[in-house]
Symmetry: C2
């Protein structure tokens, strides 16, 4: 039989952070697509009644200040509230419910609705990073988990194109970080080193999945990536466990690499690239303290849905929902395509 | 403080089959929706060049027979192939890949492209069930896992409205059944009874999540459902571990309840209700034998994306991707809405 080539032959890859496998079927890139297409991301027109604008009145009746940088306010339709009665104790192991307290905030990145991270200046993005750190500091005192996330693009259920993210803080440790906590801890006990630091070291040697790198951060397509152009941002120096551990250099470099990565993303299919992104670091809460989670390394994750073009996404359905994630192009191919994208935004070029 | 009401107050619920939690935020049903809407499911017009039609020539150059009931053929763009070279052994615990062999088939349910399960006769659906059993028998001899699944609707990435499902058989046990295998085994060791049998017994007493029931099957919204109108089909009598264990009565009753459930689904938003559905039973393969997995109970799962109407779906993005699934209406509310749907298909009523 032929020699194995990862770019041609199906195989499964292991994700040690989540204890899961992904099916990689690169030969499937040849499949034609005649299914549903999405509206091109740039078609979302700015809304003059946009409730996120400086000075706008929101559905709660509250009026935004005429903000000029970032602006944080409570989500008017929060999934998590601070004061709700607790459910009664469960009376059966198969019918278990539990209390969930929390709070949800919205954070505008910029007063201008037509702005996005790749079009903002590094200083403007740095203001976003600094505010994330403030939010994590404040909410992390009380809550076990503070999830900062950005849903970008109508295809991601984002109902407002104004540049913003959300922050949901909860009394419980949600599934995804709970699994990452367990897997990183097991690795640390076994190997006496943080999993993601070992991983980073290898990736910096191998280079084939690295997209870009600056003084403090690297953006790479993880070996076990599920979404076609999924990436991870990892800090190169030190071992920050949470956003609150970042140095000033790391914060500015983070703003820089976010801009650079997003320029490449936008250039890939010549559109404002949709995704969900967010940060994962050590859990927080009243008993958390700096340095208490040596098995953790802070990282950001970008999960973009597009597969072939601005209008054709990867459907995570059927086999993926019932059995296992499946990807077409390999992570190495995705990294190469992103590396080859221009460093200047296509809108800035005319 | 007020008394806890599940229909008003947020809480988390535990899924013992997957060792995961879901955030239930029923107060969020009040949130207005101004985001992306989908094309109404019924807008997908039949294609005269449809490669799934009896007598059509497919992209592989192969010609379908003029079939009159079900018809199974190899997927022309399979994610899993039988003969591929194995990847080399992994040289690092964080870069693990493994061989994956398999086969992918497509199964047409009916020669008529405008047909769907709720519009087919019970005898026609029974032919589908019988063919599923045949497929599981044949492929299960060789493969560890045989995933039967139907992606229905363009919103689910289904590129062809012709009634059909897919069957992907693999040499490996995929993530979802691997977790269910582990959780059911742990429960069985602890309680000496199959988890889903205990669960079923309780649900038949509580009744509040039951949608419909016939002589052999019950359709219910699981206590831990993630998708708004997610349901599960469970066998009431005996303890079938795999589809191949089903009696003739169970097969016919399955066809009946599939029709009835899908009529309710279609009536809910007056559209051909999109979903991914599939079956989970004990793993198969050369060493599997009838009765060898007493911790398993065969079940079907329906995962429909719609939330509010034929055009507004639930977006599983942002918080869901990075932290934990979140649902708005409670499983009990969903079950009630489905129960209240008419038992006669809206298209049959004029
Ligand atoms: O095989 P199809 O129907 O072309 O493809 C569809 O179902 C597959 C299996 O669930 C998914 O991997 C694809 O993303 C989806 O588009
Ligand atoms: O809060 P939004 O932006 O209205 O809602 C969006 O993000 C939430 C958090 O990821 C999801 O639960 C919703 O399904 C999605 O539509």
């Amino acid at each position: 039989m032929q020699e194995f080539k990862a770019t041609e032959h199906q195989h499964v890859r292991y994700n040690p952070l989540k204890d899961e496998w992904v099916l990689v079927s690169p030969h499937r890139c040849l499949r034609p697509w005649s299914g549903q297409t999405e509206a091109a991301p740039d078609d979302q027109p700015p809304d003059p009644l946009n409730p996120l604008l400086p000075g706008a009145t929101r559905s709660s009746g509250q009026r935004n200040p005429v903000y000029t940088s970032t602006y944080v306010f409570p989500n008017d339709f929060p999934a998590l509230l601070e004061r709700v009665p607790d459910p009664p104790p469960s009376d059966h192991p198969l019918f278990r419910s539990s209390a969930a307290k929390g709070t949800c905030r919205v954070m505008c990145f910029h007063p201008d609705s037509t702005m996005t991270i790749p079009l903002m200046t590094v200083d403007e993005i740095l203001a976003v990073v600094n505010e994330w750190v403030n939010q994590l500091k404040e909410l992390g005192r009380k809550y076990t988990w503070v999830q900062i996330f950005e849903n970008k693009g109508a295809i991601m259920g984002c109902s407002n194109p104004h540049p913003h993210c959300q922050i949901w803080a909860s009394s419980y440790l949600p599934n995804e970080p709970r699994v990452k906590e367990r897997c990183q801890k097991e690795y640390f006990i076994k190997f006496k080193r943080p999993m993601l630091l070992d991983y980073l070291k290898e990736e910096m040697i191998k280079k084939e999945r690295v997209v870009i790198q600056n003084a403090e951060w690297v953006a790479l397509v993880p070996y076990w990536a599920v979404w076609p152009y999924e990436t991870m941002l990892l800090p190169i120096n030190g071992k920050p466990q949470r956003m609150t551990d970042l140095t000033d250099d790391q914060k500015r470099s983070l703003a820089e690499i976010m801009k650079q990565l997003n320029i490449k993303y936008d250039n890939l299919f010549k559109c404002s690239f949709p995704y969900s992104m967010g940060f994962h670091g050590a859990p927080t809460g009243p008993s958390a303290a700096p340095g208490d989670s040596p098995h953790w390394l802070l990282h950001a994750i970008y999960l973009p849905p597009l597969l072939r073009s601005a209008t054709v996404k990867k459907f995570m359905v059927g086999y993926e929902m019932l059995a296992q994630s499946q990807r077409d192009l390999t992570p190495e191919q995705a990294a190469q395509k992103l590396r080859e994208c221009d460093d200047v935004h296509y809108k800035a070029k005319k």
